[in-house]
C-alpha cells in the first residue's frame, strides 16, 4: 500500500504534534526532577535535625498507624 503525498503530510503533522507534546512533557518532568531533588534535600535536613533530638526517628521503619490528635489529659 503506497502512501499518497497527502498521507505523508498528515504523518509529518502527527510527528510534529507528538514532538511538541513530548517537549512539553520533557520540560514538566525536568521541573519535577529539580523540585523532587530540592525536596529530598530539605526533608533530609529536617530528619537529620530531628534525629539528633529523637534518636529513634527512622523514615524506613513504620511509624505508629494513628497518632492521637487529642490530648489524653483532656479526654
Amino acid at each position: 500500500m503506497m502512501m499518497t503525498a497527502q498521507e505523508k503530510m498528515y504523518l509529518a503533522f502527527l510527528f510534529l504534534a507528538y514532538t511538541g507534546l513530548f517537549l512539553i512533557m520533557f520540560g514538566f518532568m525536568f521541573k519535577m526532577l529539580r523540585k523532587s531533588r530540592q525536596l529530598t534535600h530539605d526533608v533530609k535536613m529536617l530528619t537529620d535535625e530531628w534525629s539528633a533530638r529523637e534518636p529513634g526517628l527512622s523514615v524506613t521503619e513504620p511509624s505508629p498507624p494513628v497518632v492521637p490528635n487529642v490530648r489524653g489529659r483532656e479526654l
Binding site: 500500500m1 503506497m2 502512501m3 498521507e7 498528515y10 504523518l11 509529518a12 502527527l14 510527528f15 507528538y18 514532538t19 513530548f22 520533557f26 518532568m29 525536568f30 519535577m32 526532577l33 529539580r34 523532587s36 531533588r37 525536596l39 529530598t40 530539605d42 526533608v43 533530609k44 529536617l46 530528619t47 530531628w50 533530638r53 529523637e54 526517628l57 527512622s58 523514615v59 524506613t60 521503619e61 513504620p62 511509624s63 505508629p64 498507624p65 494513628v66 497518632v67 492521637p68 490528635n69 487529642v70 490530648r71
Partner: protein, 229 residues
C-alpha cells in the same frame, strides 16, 4: 560521572532518544503492506508493553524485598513502579484498541492476550486502591506486597497467552528472531529504549516524592509525640 547522576544530567539523554524514536516511528519506517500507516501505532504499543513488564517485575521484586526485610524503602519502590506500570498498561490497551480497529475491524475482542492484559490492569488498579485503604504503613505495605506478588503471576501468562492458546494477536518475537522488516524492528527497539528511559525518569521523581512523604510523616509523628497535638 557521579556529578551527572547527582544533578540529574542523565535526564538529557532522554531528549535525543525520544526525538529519534518519534522520527523513526512517523517518518523513517516504511508503511505496512496490509495495514498502511496505521502500523505505526505498533512501535509505541510494543515500547509501552515492555515498560509494563519491567514495571510490574520491579513491583514484584520490591514487594518480595519488603516481605523479607520489612524495610519501607522497598514498599516505596513497589508503589512507584506499580503506579507507573498501571499508566503504561492503560497506554498499551488504548494503543492496542486503535491498532485492533485498523487491523481486525473491531475495537475489542475477548482474545487471550487482550483478556490477560485487561486482568493485569484490573489487578494493579486494585493494588493502587488497596494502598489507599489503610493509614497503617506497615499493614498497607504487607497487604499490597502480597497482592502485587499474586498479580505478577499474570505477567508471564500475558506474555505467553498468544503462544499457549489460539489467538489472533500477532506474535512478533519468535524463536527465530523478530518477525518483521529490519527497519521496523529498529524503530521498535528505539521506541522501547525511549519509553524505558521515560519510565526510569518517572520512577526517580515518584521515589523521591514518596521518600519525602515518608520523611515528613516521620518528623510529624516525632513532633506530635514530643509536643502533643
Amino acid at each position: 560521572m557521579a556529578k551527572i547522576f547527582r544533578h540529574d544530567g542523565w535526564y538529557w539523554l532522554l531528549l535525543p532518544t525520544m526525538l529519534l524514536a518519534l522520527y523513526m516511528d512517523f517518518i523513517w519506517t516504511p508503511d505496512d503492506r496490509v495495514l498502511g500507516a496505521s502500523q505505526r501505532i505498533f512501535y509505541f504499543h510494543m515500547g509501552a508493553a515492555l515498560v509494563v513488564a519491567l514495571a510490574f517485575s520491579v513491583t514484584a521484586a520490591a514487594s518480595a524485598g519488603y516481605l523479607l526485610t520489612r524495610n519501607l524503602a522497598w514498599d516505596v519502590w513497589a508503589a512507584a513502579s506499580a503506579e507507573i506500570g498501571t499508566v503504561f498498561t492503560s497506554m498499551v490497551m488504548l494503543s492496542g484498541t486503535l491498532w485492533g480497529r485498523a487491523a481486525w475491524g473491531v475495537w475489542w475482542t475477548w482474545d487471550p492476550r487482550l483478556t490477560a492484559t485487561l486482568i493485569l490492569w484490573v489487578l494493579f488498579a486494585g493494588y493502587l486502591l488497596l494502598r489507599e485503604s489503610s493509614d497503617n504503613p506497615a499493614r498497607r505495605a504487607a497487604y499490597s506486597a502480597v497482592l502485587a506478588l499474586v498479580a505478577f503471576a499474570d505477567v508471564p501468562v500475558d506474555y505467553m497467552a498468544i503462544r499457549w492458546w489460539h489467538s489472533i494477536h500477532p506474535v512478533v518475537i519468535t524463536a527465530h528472531g523478530v518477525n518483521m522488516d529490519p527497519r521496523m524492528a529498529d524503530a521498535m527497539v528505539v521506541s522501547m529504549i525511549a519509553l524505558t528511559g521515560l519510565f526510569l525518569a518517572w520512577m526517580v521523581i515518584r521515589i523521591r516524592f514518596l521518600h519525602a512523604e515518608m520523611g515528613i510523616a516521620a518528623v510529624k509523628n516525632a513532633v506530635r509525640t514530643r509536643t502533643g497535638p
